[in-house]
Structures are given as structure tokens and as C-alpha cells.
């Protein structure tokens, strides 16, 4: 199977993506949404023509609310600012009102306290999901111990998972830097779903490895068993991801603005997840096996 044979090439591809993502996150960072860092956001739509963006920026300056303005639709603005109280909100509304009649389509305000709590909860849930999955895989594959132990299946799955989380995070860091994409609680939700989904695919291949191990002749090398398992499950791995991707692509294009970034994060994550379960996870089993073989041979040689 070419996947096993050229695994180093696929490792390299993943490594480039992961290193690139880490680099991007450490250089540019992520743009936290208001639900993490606290702050306010208002979306207004003017009945007639909206005021010029510079004019608006100048007139909002005296309020000292650190407003950043982005145009939306043909007649609207989305204004982000620090967490404001009701009085500040009232003066903001009256400033906006001086440019003609407008409707307030949405107003969100999150205190910094709530934001830090959301951030902490997100971290905890990601760690919990990863831990739960390692234990679950170790449990599900508990009967498989030769030649690679069930714990190693779990650890390989987690390496694949971490890969699947890092890649969309990196891409959102790039998008954040160049296009202002924010990372919010929905983004974290997307990552968690990617975790669940990616392990889904990985399990399908592992499950086949488990089955083939039971039927295999004793002298068949493990690498061949893994290779066969990958090629046997290749179509279904791609197709199960395909249906989910189709749903998400539809959601991205017609689902409305509020879930667009969410579906984009999922699309990236699921592509990364499918890639990792075929080209990263299972070949890694072979690599681990090869290491073990080498160690055993080294021991023999030492005797």
C-alpha cells in the first residue's frame, strides 16, 4: 500500500502544516471573539445611505470606547468596542442616530469575567474530550495487544487528533491576521466536533486492522496488514467524510452569516481529520511497530 510505503512523505506534509500553524499562532496569535475577551458588538442598518466610515469613526472617537468599524451589507455597520455599560450604549445609539434613521439589528455585550470563564470551560472541555477518547480507544481495542498494544492505538489516535485541532487553529490564525476572523466559543465547539469526527474515521481503520490481525497468518508483517486495512477502508473513510462535508459546504454557503465561520472551521477540521486517519494515524502504527522490532533486534544482538 502506497500510504504505508511513502508514509514519510505524508508525515512531512502533516509536519509542514502543523509547524506552519504553530508558527502562525505564535507570530500572529488568534483574534479572540468578545465571548472570550469581553467586549461589545453592535450591528446597525441605516434605512437610507449609511454615513461614511471615516466620518463615523471620528464621531465615535469622543465616546472613548475603542470602536472598530466594519461595513456590512449595503447599508450597515458592525462596530466592535470594549465592554460598555447602559449609559455608554445610550450615547452610542444617539451618535449613530445623528446620521439618519437606523435599526439596531443586534447588540452583544460580554463582561470580561464571563469571557474568562468561557475560555476556561473551553480548555477544560477540549482536555476532557481528548482524555475520554484515549481511554475509550484503549478500552475498545483492549483485546488487541500484539504486536502493538492497545494504549499505543490510543496514543496514535491522540496524535492524529492534536494534528486535526492544530491545523484549523493555524488557518484561523492566518485568517484572523489577514481577514479579521475571530475565534469564539463556536470555533471551540467546531474543534470539539472535529475531535469526535476524526476519531470516528481513525476507528474505522483501526477496527479493520483489529479484524485483519485476527485472520492473518502468523508470519504476515504488521506493515502489510495495516496497508491492506487502509486500502480496504479507503473508500468508506472518504465517503463518510464526503457526506458530512457536503452538508457543511451547503451550510457554509446558504446557512447564513451566524454559522459561516463555524462551518468553515468544521470543513477544515474534517478534511484534516480524514487526512490524518488515513495518512497519519495508521502509518504511525507501523512506525511504532518498526521501532519495537528494532529494539528487540538490538537486544538480541547484544546477547
Amino acid at each position: 500500500m502506497f500510504v504505508v510505503k511513502y508514509r514519510k512523505f505524508f508525515y512531512a506534509l502533516s509536519a509542514i502544516l502543523v509547524i506552519g500553524s504553530i508558527a502562525s499562532v505564535s507570530i500572529w496569535g488568534l483574534k479572540p471573539g468578545i465571548d472570550f475577551k469581553g467586549g461589545s458588538i453592535i450591528e446597525v442598518e441605516y434605512t437610507n445611505a449609511r454615513p461614511d466610515q471615516n466620518t463615523l469613526t471620528t464621531s465615535l472617537a469622543p465616546l472613548a470606547i475603542d470602536a472598530s468599524i466594519r461595513a456590512t451589507g449595503s447599508n450597515g455597520y458592525i462596530i466592535r468596542m470594549k465592554d460598555i455599560n447602559q449609559e455608554q450604549k445610550n450615547s452610542l445609539t444617539s451618535v449613530l442616530g445623528t446620521f439618519g434613521s437606523s435599526t439596531e439589528k443586534r447588540f452583544d455585550s460580554v463582561g470580561p469575567l464571563l469571557g474568562s470563564e468561557a475560555l476556561r470551560k473551553s480548555m477544560v472541555s477540549i482536555i476532557f474530550v481528548i482524555l475520554a477518547i484515549v481511554f475509550f480507544i484503549a478500552f475498545a481495542f483492549r483485546k488487541v495487544s500484539v504486536p502493538v498494544s492497545s494504549w499505543q492505538y490510543g496514543i496514535v489516535a491522540v496524535i492524529a487528533l492534536i494534528h486535526d485541532v492544530i491545523v484549523p487553529t493555524g488557518i484561523f490564525s492566518v485568517l484572523g491576521h489577514f481577514a479579521g476572523y475571530e475565534v469564539d466559543t463556536l470555533f471551540v465547539t467546531a474543534l470539539l466536533v472535529v475531535l469526535g469526527f476524526s476519531v470516528h474515521d481513525t476507528i474505522v481503520v483501526f477496527d479493520r486492522v483489529r479484524e485483519n490481525l485476527n485472520h492473518a497468518k502468523a508470519n504476515k508483517p504488521f506493515s502489510e496488514i495495516v496497508g491492506e486495512s487502509i486500502s480496504q477502508t479507503f473508500t468508506r473513510s472518504v465517503n463518510t467524510s464526503m457526506t458530512t462535508l457536503l452538508a457543511l459546504i451547503v451550510l457554509y454557503f446558504v446557512g447564513g452569516e451566524s454559522t459561516q465561520h463555524f462551518s468553515l472551521a468544521l470543513i477544515i477540521g474534517i478534511i484534516a481529520g480524514t487526512y490524518s486517519s488515513i495518512f497519519l494515524g495508521s502509518p504511525l502504527l507501523v512506525t511504532i511497530w518498526k521501532w519495537q522490532e528494532k529494539r528487540i533486534e538490538a537486544k538480541k544482538a547484544a546477547k
Binding site: 465571548d35 447602559q86 435599526t103 439596531e104 439589528k105 443586534r106 447588540f107 452583544d108 455585550s109 460580554v110 463582561g111 469575567l113 464571563l114 470563564e117 468561557a118 476556561r120 470551560k121 477544560v124 472541555s125 474530550v129 475520554a132 477518547i133 475509550f136 475498545a140 466559543t185 463556536l186 465547539t189 470539539l192 466536533v193 475531535l195 469526535g196 476519531v199 470516528h200 474515521d201 476507528i203 474505522v204 477496527d207 479484524e211 480496504q232 477502508t233 473508500t235 468508506r236 465517503n239 463518510t240 464526503m242 457526506t243 458530512t244 457536503l246 452538508a247 457543511l248 451547503v250 451550510l251 446558504v254 446557512g255 447564513g256 452569516e257 451566524s258 454559522t259 463555524f262 462551518s263
Partner: protein
């Protein structure tokens, strides 16, 4: 075979019935009207989060006080007259945070002018004692007969005493020994005691009215000077009213101080467009996935599409029955689950194809396909359920818990429809003989599946 077909038809009839019920109950006016519950982000409205300061309470008092707080706020919100407001206590904070954060969530559907609402929820009520002389009482009584309520003019007749709720040490609910009617007894602190003695001394025979937020709640007549700083408010109290009064007096009406930490307002138009987008995405996703399944998996693909229809119907019915409050994220979770619901089908069909390649007959291949794919379906769905559950319990916002709820239900329901329902349907329509056409129908993909004729019977 006949039995399977009967079961299949029966299943279809049930699904169609549920579908029709779900569809027709969406419209107001029909006798079984039960519309979907839409979240604020789809319906428009305001979502407020308050932090409650429980630092001055002992741990045992916290939950009782939070419930009391909820009741008070609920009353105020109800008075505002919005449809179906939600007021709930939420315990924030998780492992690692020292004390559990107490929060109060207030949802006001349809309200987008939050200024007024916020003022009303957060106001600090004032307890005051004001006197009314006998002479003035006559005038007031006459006016009351005329106007049936306390006009500003009437309220002017009362004279402030300077005694306020701040000087109250404690209010206690008691019962009159003879009539068994509930009464409220008041204990003043030292400052209040002195002032109360002075006021009662000067006003024997007059009324000392007790006012909450400027509204008189009790108007006892003073019979003698009260020196011990104790007073009893009697009157025809209902037990609940007396309890409420005691609580209001003890806690200055808001049992726990609150602070607004988050507001979210969505205009109705934005909500409507988000809803339309969600519905459109759902329908499109069903069509695209359906086409993919039929083109790639042929007859079993068609069966999967029917099962997917059953899945969609069941989920929509569940949303109404439980009921699940649908949000934009919830709908996204549902659409995602549509994509994942057919995963089990794909695993089964691929397995069937493999068995066919091994030379098994159609019927045997189908049995093997369902039986052998089960392991990987079970394991992979379990991991999704784990994710869903963790998201639900650790989700920090209603957006995330809404998503998690729909997602988890979706995984569970899809295991039924993709395995049980599609097995029944597939067995019902599967070709009996194994020949070129039937193998083409049951097989999939674009590489030719070769069957060995030797095994076909």
C-alpha cells in the same frame, strides 16, 4: 420476506404520520398546534446574564437565596408583559474555580429595546415608613373611593418619617394566636428603635404606612407608643403575600445583589434571515447528500435516503416533543448530523460490497454487511456521543449546549435509522436472485464488482 415487507410498510406509515403531524402542528390555528420553539437568535429578543454576589451569604443560604432572587425577577419580568420570558439560575464556575459562580439568565423574547427592561430588573426597591394623620385619612379615604387607587395627590398626604428598610433588623412571619391569620412582625435596630418610638409616640391614632417602592403595602393604625422597637403588621394577609413581604423586608426586596455582565439583543429581521438560512441549508443538504447516495450506492443508496428521511422526521418531531429550543447553532448541529447520520449506512454498504466480492450471494452479503459493520459503527458513534455529552455539560453558553443537545440526539437517533430502519427497508426491496442486474443495483462505486456464479443459488 413478506413479513419484512409488512414491517417496512408499517415503519413507513408511522414515519409519514409523524411527518404529517409535525408539519401540520407547525401552523397556528390547527387543532394540534405545537410550533417549534425558537431561540432568541432566530426569533429576536434579548438575553441578559447577571452575576449574583453571594459572597456575603453562607454556603447553605446560596441556593435558597438564588431561588428567591429568581422569583423576584420573574415577577418583575412578568409585569413587563412579554411573551414567555425565561428566568433561570445557572451555576457557573467549574473545577479549579474557588467558588461556584451564581448567575441569573433572563431571556425576553421579542424585546429589543432593553433599556427599560434592564432598569426594571435591576432597580433597588425602597422600604419606607410614612405617617398619615387621622384628619388626612378622611380626605384620603374619600379620594380613594373616587379614584380607586393611590394617585400622586393621595400619596402627598403621607409624611415621611425618616425610617427606612435600612433600620430594620429583621422581619418575621408569625401567626395571630386567636385568628391564626399570618402577621408580619418587625424588629428595628437601635437607631430605628429610637426613631420608631418617637414617631409612634407622636402619632397615636394615626396611620404609619409601610411603603415598598412608593406603593403602600400595609397601613396599620398606631395604638400606643412602641418603645421596644417591635411592630406587628396585621391585616388580611394571604400566607404567600405575608411570606413575600417578610422576604422583601429582610432582603431589601432583592435577596442577592446582582450585576449585569452580558447582554445580547437580536433584531427580529436578523433572526428571521438566520432561520430562513438554516431551513434552506437543511433542505439543500438533504438533496445533495441524497443525490450522492443514490449515484454512488444505487439501490442501497435509495434505501439510505429513505432512512435519512425517517431520521429527519423523527428529529423534527423530537424537537417539538421534548421540546428543544432551536438556535442557529442548533440548526447547524442538525445539518451536521444529517451528514453524519448516513455514515453508518456507508460503512454497511461498503462492507456488503466486500462480501459480494468474496463471492457471497446478495442476501448473505447483506446480512454480513450489517453484522460486521456493527463494531466500527458502535465504536465511532460512541466517540461522538462522548464528545456531545462533554460539550453539553461543559458548554459555557446556551449556544453551545443547544448545539450539543441536537448533535447528541442526532447521533443516537441516526443509529436507529441508519441500522435498524435501513435494514428493514433494504431487506424488503432487495432482489431475491443474484444476477448481473441485481448485483449492479446492490453494489456501489464505479469499479465493476465481479461475482462468482458458483455460489449463487
Amino acid at each position: 420476506m413478506l413479513k419484512t415487507r409488512i414491517i417496512a410498510v408499517f415503519l413507513l406509515i408511522i414515519a409519514v404520520t409523524i411527518g404529517l403531524l409535525t408539519y401540520y402542528s407547525s401552523f397556528a390555528g390547527s387543532s394540534i398546534s405545537k410550533p417549534f420553539k425558537l431561540g432568541l437568535d432566530l426569533n429576536g429578543g434579548t438575553h441578559l446574564v447577571y452575576k449574583a454576589d453571594t459572597s456575603k451569604l453562607s454556603i447553605g443560604e446560596v441556593s435558597v437565596s438564588m431561588l428567591a432572587l429568581r422569583d423576584v425577577i420573574e415577577k418583575r419580568v412578568n409585569a413587563f408583559g412579554v411573551g414567555e420570558p425565561i428566568v433561570q439560575v445557572e451555576q457557573g464556575g467549574i473545577l479549579g474555580s474557588k467558588e461556584a459562580q451564581q448567575k441569573l439568565i433572563v431571556e425576553l423574547p421579542g424585546v429589543t429595546d432593553i433599556d427599560e427592561a434592564i432598569k426594571m430588573i435591576g432597580r433597588t426597591p425602597v422600604l419606607e415608613f410614612q405617617t398619615l394623620s387621622q384628619a388626612d385619612k378622611k380626605i384620603v379615604d374619600d379620594k380613594k373611593l373616587e379614584q380607586k387607587e393611590y394617585s400622586i395627590e393621595i400619596l402627598k398626604a403621607y409624611k415621611p418619617t425618616g425610617i427606612t428598610g435600612r433600620m430594620l433588623e429583621r422581619a418575621i412571619l408569625e401567626f395571630n394566636n386567636t385568628t391564626m391569620e399570618p402577621t408580619v412582625s418587625l424588629n428595628f435596630n437601635a437607631e430605628g428603635k429610637a426613631l420608631f418610638a418617637k414617631v409612634t409616640k407622636e402619632n397615636v391614632g394615626n396611620i404609619v404606612g409601610i411603603f415598598l417602592d412608593g406603593n403602600p403595602i400595609s397601613e396599620p393604625v398606631v395604638r400606643e407608643e412602641i418603645k421596644d422597637g417591635k411592630a406587628v403588621i396585621s391585616g388580611s394577609f394571604k400566607l404567600d403575600d405575608a411570606k413575600l413581604l417578610v422576604r422583601d423586608l429582610n432582603y431589601g426586596a432583592l435577596p442577592v445583589p446582582i450585576e449585569l455582565i452580558s447582554t445580547q439583543t437580536v433584531g427580529a429581521s436578523l433572526g428571521q434571515s438566520a432561520l430562513n438560512g438554516g431551513i434552506k441549508a437543511g433542505v439543500f443538504a438533504l438533496i445533495v447528500i441524497g443525490l450522492f447516495l443514490i449515484i454512488w450506492y444505487r439501490l442501497p443508496g435509495l434505501v439510505a435516503v429513505i432512512s435519512l428521511g425517517v431520521y429527519t422526521t423523527l428529529m423534527l418531531a423530537l424537537f417539538k416533543l421534548i421540546p428543544v429550543t432551536l438556535t442557529a447553532a442548533g440548526i447547524a448541529g442538525f445539518i451536521l448530523s444529517i451528514g453524519m447520520a448516513v455514515d453508518a449506512n456507508i460503512l454497511i454498504f461498503e462492507r456488503m460490497k466486500e462480501e459480494l466480492k468474496k463471492g457471497k450471494g446478495i442476501s448473505e452479503a447483506m446480512h454480513e454487511g450489517f453484522a460486521r459493520a456493527w463494531n466500527s459503527i458502535r465504536d465511532s458513534n460512541t466517540s461522538s456521543l462522548i464528545t456531545g455529552a462533554i460539550l453539553y455539560f461543559f458548554g459555557s453558553t446556551s449556544v453551545i449546549t443547544g448545539f450539543a443537545l441536537v448533535f447528541t440526539f442526532g447521533v443516537a437517533v441516526s443509529m436507529f435509522t441508519a441500522i435498524t430502519a435501513s435494514r428493514v427497508f433494504l431487506y424488503a426491496v432487495a432482489p431475491k436472485t443474484t444476477n448481473k442486474l441485481s448485483t449492479f443495483l446492490i453494489s456501489n462505486g464505479f469499479t465493476k464488482t465481479i461475482i462468482s456464479q458458483s455460489l449463487t443459488k
